[in-house]
Amino acid sequence: MALYSEKVMDHFTNPRNVGKIEDADGVGEVGNAKCGDIMKIYLKIENDIIVDVKFNTFGCGSAIASSSMATELIKGKPISQALELTNKAVAEALDGLPAHKMHCSVLAEEAIRSAIKNYYDTHGIAYDKAQFPDPHED
């Protein structure tokens, strides 16, 4: 299908890291069902390393592919690196997204940040609040 790159279709039809982590250390949910996209990310963290990550997504093909790619990009990485992940990096790793689908990659970035923030909050870890501006709807 010409709308999406082969990579997007691959991550959409065979998404990586789908599911939930029951005893997750951090959970983040962003998006709005009214707008047609919701992403929920679960993190398992040991010694500041993301040892496992899973996602559930309600949304279009590019939303599911963005979730899949984003989780691949942060799995096994230190939190500091995950916080540096940008939506552009997610879109580039998917060989690009159509312009009107870029907001899906933004949601993926925001979902990860939201899960990390939740990890900090629930584990009493101090952090710089400026690192987590309020997620905005694209």
Binding site: T13, C35, G36, K40, N56, T57, G59, S62, K101
Partner: protein, 396 residues
């Protein structure tokens, strides 16, 4: 992989009848109908013949048929003409519904900017309106009522004859976008009191890029394309003769075989509706009875339509959805919202539109694949999880 094409409301495959009718005009009959010489006059005869045959199919006079590039152009020309005719008499009010095709809605939005006032009738939950509601909306300055014959997304068939009768009674011009109806259900502009009607060839196995506008004689039609005497001066440009010939042949064939085809198609449709309604928290959109034989439109809660379509496409099933992501906007279909469906439900819609080429096997493939794809998407959907955990109430 077998392709199961069930997007016939978007477009149909051309029939052999239509292709055979078209090819002579791509090869030996290449003349321009406006030329005086023999080659041109043969083309002219073919044009007149096609016009007469199409007129017969919808029960009007040949001179009341104007060929266009398709349904959208016909809608634009009909509405703009009626608006201008009305404005000349000081009438600048138009009545329509909230779920028309964009060819109608966008034309009306432009007219609003030009000083017209438009009443958009609310559509009931079942995708219908009544003639009485149209009557109540009429005013002394109403120039036009434009209401679709059958809805392109949910397939509901509106009470056109009754609406036409009301418009006749009050002397208001009545246009109907019958793009989804012509060739599929009985259309008779005389019996149904229709003043203007748009139709499109590729919705009934004719060629793309060709359609027609019926305008009852006595109603002035404004010229849209200037530059020639074609279509009695109302639409300049050398006629798309091959396309027109395909349209005449396809329409005649469709009308001739309407009864048997619609019986077959409707039985396939009903199997699909009954089968897909077994999926929990699913819903048929639009009235089940007053509906095109070919259309079913369903919502499945907790999933999004574009991902549903893409996964079905991977299984060879070509369908359509009213989800936002398929339209390039963030809002789901204006038709589903007009029915009062919540946004989150409207996102999860699937339109299947059949034709006589579909088979029992197609139905079985769809009934086998759709529940699996819906279950898969629900399984990875945080929205579905919340619904199932009771954190949010099911809406359907």
């Amino acid at each position: 992989m077998k392709v199961v094409y069930v997007d016939n409301a978007a477009t149909t495959a051309m029939s052999d009848v239509a292709i055979d009718a078209m090819t002579p005009y791509l090869k030996e009959v290449y003349g321009n109908p406006s030329s005086l010489h023999t080659v041109g006059q043969i083309a002219k005869e073919a044009l007149d013949d096609a016009r007469a045959r199409i007129a017969k199919c919808i029960n009007c006079q040949p001179k009341e048929i104007y060929f266009t590039s398709g349904g959208s152009e016909a809608d634009n020309q009909a509405i703009r003409s009626a608006a201008l005719n009305g404005a000349r008499k000081g009438k600048k009010h138009i009545v329509t519904t909230a779920f028309e095709h964009h060819a109608v809605l966008h034309t009306l939005e432009k007219l609003e900017k030009e000083g017209f006032e438009v009443t958009y009738l609310d559509v009931h939950e079942n995708g219908l309106i009544t003639a009485r509601e149209v009557e109540a909306a009429l005013r002394d300055d109403t120039a036009l009522v434009t209401i679709m014959f059958a809805n392109n997304e949910i397939g509901t068939v509106l009470p056109i004859a009754e609406i036409g009768e009301i418009c006749r009674k009050y002397g208001v011009v009545f246009h109907t976008d019958a793009v989804q109806a012509v060739g599929h259900i009985p259309v008779d502009v005389t019996a149904q009191n229709i003043d203007m009607l748009s139709l499109s060839a590729h919705k009934f196995h004719g060629a793309k890029g060709v359609g027609a506008l019926y305008v009852k004689s006595g109603i002035p039609l404004q010229t849209f394309v200037e530059g020639g005497a074609q279509e009695r001066g109302k639409r300049a440009g050398t006629e798309n003769l091959g396309g027109i010939a395909s349209m005449a042949a396809a329409l005649e064939y469709a009308v001739e075989h309407m009864k048997e085809n619609s019986t077959k198609i409707q039985s396939l449709r009903d199997k699909l509706i009954d089968g897909l309604l077994k999926i929990p928290h699913s819903k048929l959109n639009g009235d089940r009875c007053s509906r095109l034989p070919s259309n079913l439109n369903m919502c499945f809660e907790g999933i999004e339509g574009e991902s549903l379509l893409l996964l079905l496409d991977a299984k060879g099933i070509c369908a359509s959805s009213g989800s936002a992501c398929t339209s390039g906007s963030l809002d789901p279909s204006h038709v589903l919202l007009a029915l009062g469906l919540p946004h989150e439900v409207a996102h999860g819609s699937l339109r299947i539109s059949l034709c006589e080429y579909n088979t029992q096997e197609d139905v079985e493939i769809i009934l086998n694949e759709v529940p699996k794809v819906v279950a898969y998407l629900r399984n990875i959907s945080p929205v579905w999880e919340e619904l199932e955990n009771g954190e949010k109430p099911h809406l359907i």
